[in-house]
């Protein structure tokens, strides 16, 4: 008889150990998938930048802005100033709270909560990113329950995708977007292939993830249409109408919540361009010229470029799989999957919505190939589709992507080194600290301020001061304002603190009563603006 008879607890433990040991190779493959991208990123920073992740310092305009906003939230929550441009604030400012920039408040809030728990230094973001990416890849593997081969294939795909990896060790929103895409891939695959047999937690979990994703980047809201897809009643017209209504409703809700906390972006992204909604406003007025220009520029930029680059080819790959993914989902299912044909159709529709939605958005809203903004926006969605494909069709159809990524590694490494050098080199932070460290410390946080503008510093006469922003106290928000036309201010300045390194801007400020010089250092001058009512006893 079994020696464990009468000791059920021990028996269970032994069974569990046996189960775990039988699953060990699979668990190791999940570990490889979770860790390999992080290892590759660390190796790139160590061997190619001759630096390490702890040396990261946000230098670029975007990265420094994100960093400061997260620092604001971690330090004082909503009691900071107004981040943004041209002294505009998000609609949520009506609530009397400090608001963040044009990419909405949700991303800084999310990272700010983590920062509040673990602290927030210049390099903290790199570690948060790599932990989040590892966890989300582990979650994806657990949700998809793929084979060892699947896990290793995904690991190789991500380890060779230097375009994706470039975003991991820097202060940008992209790392979070990829985490979201990995989790969405797992959740959607599970939901669409299990259909009615799906566990009860899956639906709310997927809905919550889509909403969270839409709050950080509203284009994810498109996936509400896939969420409400009537998988079990695909031939029902009424079911599809309900899907469209619900999808539209929650996409609009996500967009509204996003924009309520987002300061307006008053500049066109590229000089001379006509951007986004303006195109459609002009169409309503009967002028289709800007729309045709946008469309023509995008088509020519994508299919008739002056030069073929890695990023452009990646965008071609996304377009190719937008067409191929639904076809492959329908006709090239992996035989080892015991799913019915209905789930194949559901997956095909999912890919259409996921990739079609984002491609339509970037083509009709952005200048796709200028700065390759189209690729940056659509790559997380592509990663999501790619990983679902890797689980649901034969992997041979995805090998071309890996092949291209491997062939493009030399070029991608050079791009990585060119783009990342400044952020992993102490030169600029040392210069900025020397030039402005003492001066910017004169800016004091006002805990009992009557308005968030009292805790706002305006960088006047320029744009994207990058590393200098990090010399501002972490409780203070930063607003950017370009030099006005004719060097003349049309409205009073709202911010309590003003900084400039521009002589023309200084000349403009000299003419404004109530604006006084607090100090200067090198090319930088700091002003206080007493026109802003910050204390009860004033005026």
């Amino acid at each position: 008889m079994d020696a464990n008879l009468g000791a059920p607890g021990r028996h269970t433990i032994l069974n569990r150990l046996r189960y775990l040991s039988s699953r060990l190779p699979w668990l190791v493959s999940v570990g490889v998938l979770s860790v390999l991208p992080v290892v590759v990123v660390s190796a790139l920073v160590t061997f190619y930048l001759k630096s390490n992740l702890q040396d990261y310092f946000p230098v670029g305009g975007d990265s420094a802005t994100y960093w400061q906003e997260i620092a604001n939230f971690a330090k004082v929550g909503f009691h900071s100033g107004h981040s943004g441009f041209e002294e505009t604030a998000a609609p949520a400012a009506k609530l009397g709270i400090g608001t963040f920039g044009s990419h909405s408040q949700w991303f800084p809030m999310l990272y700010g909560c983590i920062a509040k728990m673990i602290g927030w230094g210049p390099a903290t973001v790199s570690f948060i990113n790599i932990v989040l990416v590892s966890l989300s890849l582990g979650a994806m593997a657990w949700l998809m329950k793929g084979t060892i081969r699947f896990n290793l294939f995904c690991a190789v795909f991500l380890a060779t995708s230097l375009y994706i990896l470039t975003f991991l060790p820097i202060m940008m929103m992209e790392a979070l977007q990829y985490c979201i895409s990995f989790i969405l891939a797992g959740l959607f695959y599970r939901r669409l292939t299990l259909s009615r047999k799906a566990p009860s937690w899956l639906g709310p979990c997927l809905w919550g993830t889509i909403m969270l994703a839409a709050l950080t980047r509203y284009s994810w809201g498109i996936l509400f249409f896939a969420y409400y897809m009537p998988v079990s009643r695909l031939r029902s017209g009424n079911a599809w109408l309900a899907c469209l209504a619900k999808g539209l409703c929650f996409t609009v809700l996500g967009f509204s919540l996003y924009t309520y906390f987002a300061a307006p972006y008053p500049y066109e992204p590229f000089p001379g361009s006509v951007f986004g909604i303006k195109v459609y406003v002009s169409m309503l007025h009967g002028d289709v010229g800007p729309f045709l220009t946008l469309f023509k520029t995008n088509i020519l930029g994508v299919f008739h470029p002056g030069r073929v680059t890695v990023q452009l080819v990646l965008f071609w790959i996304i377009i190719f799989y937008f067409i191929a993914a639904p076809i492959l989902s329908l006709f090239e299912r992996d035989d080892s999957l015991a799913s019915d044909s209905r789930s194949g159709l559901a997956l095909a529709i999912f890919h259409c919505i996921n990739l079609g939605g984002i491609l339509a958005a970037v083509t009709l809203y952005y200048y796709t190939t200028l700065g390759m903004v189209g690729l940056r926006q659509s790559m997380p969605q592509f990663a999501c589709t790619f990983l679902v494909l890797a689980r649901s069709i034969r992997i041979r159809w995805l090998i071309p992507v890996l092949v291209f990524q491997v062939v493009s590694i030399p070029s991608s490494i050079i791009t990585f080194m060119d783009n990342m050098e400044a952020e992993y080199n102490s030169y600029q932070q040392n210069i900025a600290r020397h030039e402005t460290g003492k001066l910017f410390k004169l800016i004091k946080y006002n805990k009992n301020a009557l308005s968030p503008w009292c805790n706002t510093v305006l960088f006047f006469g320029g744009y994207g001061f990058g590393v200098y922003m990090l010399m501002i106290p972490p409780e203070i928000s930063i607003n950017d304002m370009r030099l006005p036309a004719e060097d003349e201010l049309l409205t009073p300045l709202k911010s309590a603190w003003i900084i400039t390194d521009n002589q023309r801007a200084s000349d403009v400020l000299k003419q404004v009563s109530g604006v006084e010089i607090l100090g200067s250092s090198g090319v930088w001058t700091l002003y206080s603006n007493s026109n802003v009512q910050c204390h009860q006893f004033e005026r």
Partner: protein, 189 residues
């Protein structure tokens, strides 16, 4: 059967072959790109030998308008040589040199002392600077005349094949005891 074979086996292979062709079309010179992108940054940058070369034929000039916080003085140790170092040792200095890429290798002479000292050589590879070499100081002076080799073809990635391309080099000096040795304003030999 044959139709399935063509579709399921041959088409993915054709797609992979297309991916290789498209991938290679990105490069003007793939072997050079592979070397400059993957191999050269990993190669050891230890100095070859210790010898100050008496003259140079490398076409170069210092761009003072793009340099900052740099001062230079004659060497008290070797006649005819001058030393570039930070004017204010509290902040890093930059020395910018325009060089014509007309050969494969050139040597330069950094010298430093102390764990807080470092010298970086960067290539201006539009749109950013790219690290070519980083030397960190130790608790003793590095030897005079230690030859550090710079592989010139990798400096400007978009022009791997082109000869005589003027390229901007940035020498970044951090710390009090950091020096670049030069002769009559020439840094590269």
């Amino acid at each position: 059967m044959n139709k399935n074979f063509a579709l399921e086996r041959v088409l993915p292979v054709c797609l992979s072959a297309t991916a290789i062709i498209v991938g290679l079309s990105i490069y003007s010179d793939f072997p050079s790109a592979f070397y400059c992108g993957c191999i050269e940054p990993l190669e050891s940058k230890a100095p070859l030998r210790e010898k100050l070369l008496p003259c140079t034929s490398v076409e170069q000039h210092i761009e003072w308008e793009h340099s900052s916080n740099i001062t230079h003085a004659p060497s008290s140790e070797v006649d005819g040589w001058e030393i570039f170092s930070p004017a204010d040792p509290q902040i890093p200095a930059r020395l910018t040199v325009m060089v014509v890429r007309d050969r494969s290798e050139a040597v330069w002479y950094p010298r430093l002392n102390g764990p807080d000292s470092s010298i970086e050589l960067l290539a201006d590879d539009d749109p950013g600077l790219r690290l070519m070499e980083r030397i960190r100081g130790r608790n003793e002076w590095t030897p005079i005349g230690a030859q550090h080799v710079l592989y010139l073809p990798c400096l400007k990635y978009d022009y791997l094949k082109a000869k005589n391309v003027p390229t901007r080099l940035v020498f970044q000096l951090s710390g009090r005891w950091t020096q670049i040795w030069a002769r009559q304003g020439d840094i590269l030999f």
